[in-house]
């Protein structure tokens, strides 16, 4: 018989306001095996933990039940507490009487009764708990960063700085990501390229950092500390080891009508191209869909002009398999194409552009050399209208439900830059709210209004139509309770941002969870913001939620710190709640191995003593370092030989019985 102590937490008033904690402790005291029960304001506090430790010693407790917040919150804390007092950390069970009781019920009597039942279930389970010891597994001291934008680069550089090897997988031919396309950055207006390219060069030249550009993650196996990842190298049709990046091929390529993705399609590139001047690695890539030789077998001009002999039309995709201790997701975002919002005329009018397109039109390295010209006629615009919240903050099927967060600030930036370069241009911003919570952000926005004379009008644009080459904007001015009509030469849409499309299949490969918007879920919204709930998977940048550059970089470094903390360990303690096969019950039928996602089950011929007979039998054996404890095998096993430590058949049935009592 266990000697069980029950500790009921008030969690200040979080629990105590709706659950009569004293009554819970008092009632649970009379449960079989319970020799001590008490309640306290904050069990997780130092003094609360002291109470637990003292009670364990004083009452010779063998098992502990804590009625408190979710085990997902403090299970690890309390395991350490009971271990410090000398009992096995797995002799602890937590009854979740906060998230699953006090916070959702209003009636005190009802909530108290439920808390008692949840406590009983935990007690019933502890009776059947057994001490568990964690196995150790080694840590591969190398990290993988998926995505080579500013987030991925920063994380990789920080990890490399700590002395660990790190690989970056980037699906584009160069690292740099969205930031490389930007003109200036808020709130300081320094040039994006000026601050990004040194980091790109660092990443390219750091001998701890390997770049896998034009690559994709193909397959992920393993678990924290021991991931095995297959990377697909897409064929560039250019030998990256030979290419000097001279660019001769890109200027001679006769296939010239291919929209240049880097410039948002405002100009064209050759079939063989280097995305932009500062690309890292500076290596040419052939797009086989555009290449005349690849399509017709005639041309081959690039191969003729390449003195390095780097062109290789026969290149095939390759697969590289490497092991990693940690994986960082930094897959970033894209701006939506507002094609479904035709009231703004994006499909039909060239002068209606998205803000990312506008960045290129303002950028000195962009298609217009930094001169802001109307895409329709190449003339300077005189009046520009900016529209905020296009596709963000909505509930209809074409909208994103979230705030894209960066638009208010970059629109203020755009407005300011336009006024700075062309003081005569009339700039109007239509907004719902101006959201500027960041250091020096509101000051930045106020400068746009007060110093640069940008007009901010509270209200949305309802319709844009073109008439005689002029955009007619119909909008609300809510403060004036008026519908206003104004002419514009350009309309810039602050379209919503969304996670990159590659994120969803990647999440499936990583078994990392995502929210309904396809942003990666963090392990805890406040306390573990850069980790995925899946151990060994870390989140950097906008793959986790909309972020601006300062925030992305700080999260990227935080993420690196977490990765370094993991890679610094030689061994990891495995989850001891793993499957175990009872050798006298096992039929050796292999059904369990059929459903094991990790290949953790093998079979051995063993001498078994059963019912007084000693015989050789085929027996399932679980590799405890590989088993992750899902329990699929336990249900498929007809004889019940396979059971899960910590969640044993009898333990779960005891909980069922206690709840249904």
């Amino acid at each position: 018989m266990q000697r069980i102590g029950v500790f009921v937490c008030w969690c200040g008033t979080n629990i105590a306001a709706t659950v009569d904690v004293a009554k819970v402790a008092e009632t649970l005291k009379s449960e079989p095996g319970v020799v001590f029960a008490t309640d306290y304001q904050y069990m997780c506090s130092a003094s609360g933990q002291e109470i637990i430790k003292n009670a364990i010693k004083e009452h010779n407790l063998t098992g502990v039940v804590i009625c408190s917040c979710s085990p997902r919150m403090h299970e690890a804390t309390f395991r350490k507490t009971v271990q410090a007092a000398g009992i096995n950390p797995y002799m602890l069970e937590i009854a979740n009487i906060r998230e699953q009781c006090s916070w959702i019920h209003k009636d005190k009597e009802e909530a108290t009764e439920k808390a008692i039942i949840l406590g009983r279930a935990a007690i019933a389970k502890v009776h059947l708990n057994a001490p568990l010891t964690s196995m150790e597994s080694p840590v591969v001291k190398r990290a993988l960063v998926i995505g080579g934008g500013i987030a991925g680069i920063q994380t990789a550089l920080d990890i490399a700085d700590a002395g660990f090897e790190v690989d970056i997988v980037e699906k584009q031919p160069t690292i740099g990501g969205k930031m490389a396309q930007l003109d200036k950055t808020f709130p300081t207006l320094d040039c994006a390229a000026c601050i990004l390219t040194p980091k790109m060069v660092d990443a390219g030249s750091n001998d701890k950092v390997n770049l896998y550009t034009y690559c994709e993650v193909d397959k992920v196996e393993g678990f924290v500390g021991n991931f095995k990842v297959t990377i697909k190298q897409k064929p560039r049709y250019v030998d990256a080891t030979k290419c000097t990046g001279c660019g001769e091929c890109t200027t001679k390529c006769p296939s010239r009508k291919n929209p240049n993705e880097f410039n948002m399609g405002f100009d064209n590139r050759g079939a063989v191209y280097i995305p932009f001047a500062q690309a890292v690695p500076k290596v040419a890539t052939i797009d086989p869909d555009d290449c005349i030789y690849m399509k017709t077998g005639k041309c081959g001009l690039c191969a003729k002009v390449c003195t390095a002999g780097a062109i290789n039309y026969e290149q095939k995709e390759e697969f590289i398999t490497k092991e990693y201790g940690a994986i960082v997701v930094a897959t970033g975002y894209n701006q939506i194409k507002p094609t479904e919002f035709e009231e703004y005329g994006y499909n039909n009018y060239k002068d209606v552009v998205t803000s990312l397109e506008f960045e290129r039109l303002m950028n000195a390295a962009g298609p217009t050399g930094g001169h802001l010209l109307r895409p329709s006629n190449g003339k300077e615009p005189k009046k520009i209208v900016f529209v905020q919240c296009v596709g963000s903050r909505g509930q209809s099927c074409r909208d994103k439900s979230y705030c894209s967060k960066i638009c208010c600030m970059y629109t203020a930036k755009h407005a300011m830059l336009v006024k700075d370069h062309y003081p005569d241009v009339d700039v109007t911003v239509f907004y719902i709210d101006v959201r500027t919570p960041g250091k020096n952000f509101d000051e930045f926005y106020r400068r746009a209004v007060e110093e640069f004379g940008v007009h901010y009008i509270k209200g949305m644009v309802g319709k844009v139509e073109e008439e005689d080459g002029v955009l007619k904007v119909q909008a609300s001015d809510l403060l004036a309770n008026a519908q206003i009509h104004m002419d514009a030469d350009m309309v810039v849409l602050a379209a919503a941002i969304e996670p990159d499309k590659s994120a969803r299949p990647l999440a499936t490969m990583l078994t990392a969870s995502m929210d309904t918007n396809d942003f990666f879920t963090e392990a805890h919204a406040k306390l573990r913001p850069v980790e995925s709930p899946t151990a060994g998977i870390f989140l950097s940048g906008t793959c986790q939620g909309p972020k601006d550059i300062p925030e992305t970089v700080s999260q990227a470094s935080a993420c690196a710190a977490k990765v370094i903390g993991l890679l610094a360990k030689d061994h990891l303690l495995c989850n001891p709640c793993v499957a175990h096969s009872n050798e006298t019950l096992c039929n050796g039928c292999s059904t369990c191995a059929n459903v094991c996602p990790y290949g953790a089950i093998t079979y051995e011929d063993r001498l078994v003593m059963d019912k007084g007979v000693r015989e050789t039998r085929r027996i399932a054996v679980v590799n405890e370092a590989v088993c992750q404890g899902c329990g699929a095998c336990t249900v498929t096993c007809p004889s019940g030989a396979m059971d899960l430590k910590g969640f044993a058949n009898r333990q779960i049935m005891a909980e069922v019985d206690a709840i249904c009592r």
């Binding site: 909505g394 209809s396 909208d399 719902i432 309802g462 909008a475 809510l478 309770n481 519908q483």
Partner: protein, 129 residues
């Protein structure tokens, strides 16, 4: 006499509109093709009903001039659907005794040779109990 004791709950029930979903962006009034002919505008209908300020709407011109073209309903980012609320206010009026806007005897005067039946049927549906 027009009964002005129409409650917010009545209107929300008739229309199925939840005014609290509104984020006050003004897109409804921005997109309304008949803004100038309305004394109260779509966003005001949402705002005023939300605050229980309903009497002025019952006596407004806007309930008769709204085109029911659903531009506001289609383009509302929060799916608040102002057009349905305007319809509900109008219904709250025409369902009252003697509040028909249009009577059968008014029709001959309005007719012209090409006017489709559809116009008369629609107008009756909108303006008459």
């Amino acid at each position: 006499m027009l009964n002005t004791k129409i409650s917010k709950e009545d209107l929300e029930r008739i229309s199925g509109v939840n005014t609290r979903k509104c984020m006050k962006c003004g897109k409804c009034s921005a997109t309304c093709p008949n803004f100038d002919a309305m004394d109260y505008h779509p966003h005001q209908f949402i705002d005023m009903v939300d605050k229980g300020n309903i009497a002025p709407l019952l006596e407004s011109k806007a309930i008769w001039t709204c085109l029911s073209c659903m531009a506001c309903l289609q383009r509302c980012p929060r799916s608040v659907e102002p057009a349905k609320l305007i319809e509900a206010v109008r219904l709250a009026v025409v369902r009252q005794q003697g509040e028909n806007r249009l009577a059968a005897e008014d029709i001959p005067e309005l007719l012209d040779e090409d006017l489709p039946q559809q116009a008369i049927v629609s107008a009756f549906r909108k303006y008459k109990k």
